[in-house]
Amino acid sequence: MIAAEERVQASVGSLLSVRDLSVEYPSQAGPVPAVRGVTFDVAEGEILGLAGESGCGKSTIAHALLRLLPPDARVTGQVLLNGEDVLTMKFGRLRAVRWDEASIVFQGAMHSMNPVQRVGDQIVEAVRLHRPGTNDRQGQAQVGELLERVGLPARRARDYPHELSGGQRQRAMIAMALACDPKLLIADEPTTALDVMVQAQVLSLLKELQRELKLGLIFITHDLSVLVELCDRIAVMYAGRIVEEGPAEAIFERPAHPYSWGLSGSFPRIGDPEYRRAPGGLPGDPPDPQRLPTGCPFHPRCPRAFEPCPDTDPPMYPAVHGGFAACLLLDSKLNPEGARA
């Protein structure tokens, strides 16, 4: 396909370029595909949103980017970080790249910090590891700076994680992620466990930091409405594959893939009376990755499925919003009336 080749071309010079990334977990009943041939790019200072229901493989991608998956997971493809393939580099080089070039803000800050170590010590650990010359005083000072940068008083460095609230913990986690000035930040559902007010604060903090530090940011969430406000581009995932990719605004307003219609309809637009009368949302559950439907994996739940869908796995087609979508409705031969109804 011409489209896919164009996208490969576009990768030159980007901060992160992921090519045909696949992840399989072993199981008694044979390998389970969690991610199936995902390709995307993140440029320096760009925010990419990764959206999808739970189980679609978005967290697996986050972990695969720094090779943090369990050793029995089979990972293929390429993850080029500043031109170096993370998946094939030596372990020593990998350790040096981790956190220094790309760091992760994990889902649920509750458990992603060591409960028996002071917050400051956990941050200093990362600094010292990648900047071996750092002495105690410099380390302390840097921790204080980092904490203040994320809106926490420097004295919080002496607290244990359980002494912080959920929002504070997530702020501390962000401070830790920034400890080595990475160029890429991967935020894996960083606001999921927080209540709405705190969510908004953490989001605006992330956005502010991203702009200030010119970070490349991958923001992973199931909440499409969050991504619209935050991201430059959005990739929508379904069943381990990117099914639509394009400019954030356009995907939310004029999605080309029926799954994205459902996903953007799944979240109430506050103050929109239309939504009250006609809630969208998707019927059914995401498919079991071990028993994916034939053809387009979305066709059993798709309100617009037609004859070729159960037999043909759709490639990416250019969509009207300037991005791409994997839907046969966009195939001018199969669906001559055009993409949009």
């Binding site: 350790r95 040096a96 992760i104 458990h111 409960p115 650990e125």
Partner: protein, 325 residues
């Protein structure tokens, strides 16, 4: 801060338990069948008046509340009565036998903890490896083995005339052997080896199993992924993040066990004629020597309570979350 309140609460709790033990220890021996005076005068055809006099001397005819007050007062003044068997104050008798047990239990606890934890850590780290499988089987077998049986097997293999005769059969030192200096220490060491080995083997299986499962548990936690993501080596992840968290349940178990090990050394001390509190308990039971037993029971209970307290304190030190609760 929270730390001081935590400490006070734990100490008060321990004192309450101690008070309860004191009461229980008193009534336990009143319920036991047999007239102590009769036992004291056993096999001696004492005239009735003499028995009466004994009863009076020991305060056995006083009303129960009076007896309790006497007992509690005496105990608080560290007066535990006169041993029937040794005809000496119970405190003195126990004092003479406490150090062999402290030595044996101390060496066994340190040995089994260090070895057990290391086996557990290495097994969990190399899960599914030959070492893991082997140590798992070894731990289960030694855990299940009765220690007196293990002790007898070791005796037969390494001390008896039909075995290797590498070690002495029993006791803490060679009678008439060196009483001081390096020669004395070596002599005690030779005597200590087999009973300590028996206890170490009996204890370490449990520690290894707990440490292994605790560490495997912790290795699946999110902060371990964070630690890896930061770029730490596997060994650093293990040492700085996994082990400190995995130690929490294990250390509690070790400290709790310490209290029971003191009394639990009874069978091992008996097998090796180790002149400690365990052997003393058996001797007191055979007599039966009620005041001595009462004193020993009190001591064993105190050991358990103190071990509990130590466990609480260590846990509070290792886990900052506990101090607040």
């Amino acid at each position: 801060m929270g730390a001081r309140r935590y400490l006070t609460a734990k100490v008060v709790q321990a004192l309450f338990t101690l008070a309860f033990v004191l009461v229980f220890n008193f009534f336990l021996f009143r319920i036991l069948p047999g007239n102590p005076a009769q036992i004291l005068a056993r096999q001696r055809r004492l005239p009735v008046e003499a028995v009466r006099e004994l009863e009076r001397d020991f305060g056995l005819k006083d009303p129960l509340p009076q007896q309790f007050v006497n007992y509690a007062g005496d105990t608080l003044r560290a007066n535990f009565g006169i041993s029937f068997k040794f005809r000496r104050p119970v405190g003195e008798v126990i004092q003479g036998r406490i150090w062999p047990t402290v030595l044996l239990v101390g060496v066994a606890t340190i040995g089994s903890t260090v070895i057990g934890l290391l086996i557990g850590i290495y097994g969990a780290w190399r899960r599914g490896s030959g070492f893991d499988m082997g140590s798992l089987g070894f731990s289960l077998v030694t855990y299940a083995m009765p220690e007196f049986w293990l002790g007898m097997i070791l005796l037969i293999l390494f001390a008896s005339t039909s075995g290797l005769e590498l070690f002495p059969l029993g006791n803490i030192r060679t009678p008439g052997g060196p009483a001081s200096g390096i020669a004395h220490l070596l002599d005690v060491g030779r005597h200590l080896f087999l009973p300590a080995l028996t206890l170490i083997l009996a204890l370490l299986g449990e520690y290894a199993l707990i440490m292994r499962s605790s560490l495997l548990d912790v290795m699946g936690d999110d902060y371990i992924v964070t630690a890896r993501a930061k770029g730490l080596r596997e060994a650093q992840v293990l040492r700085r993040h996994a082990v400190p968290n995995a130690l929490l349940p294990t250390v509690t178990l070790v400290a709790l066990n310490l209290g029971f090990v003191v009394s639990g050394a009874i069978t091992v001390e008996t097998v090796f004629s180790w002149p400690g509190l365990g052997l003393l308990t058996v001797e007191a039971l055979q007599a039966p020597d009620y005041p001595l037993l009462q004193g020993l029971f009190l001591l064993f209970s105190v050991a358990v309570i103190v071990a509990n307290l130590i466990a609480d304190l260590i846990y509070g030190y290792l886990d900052p979350r506990v101090r607040v609760a």
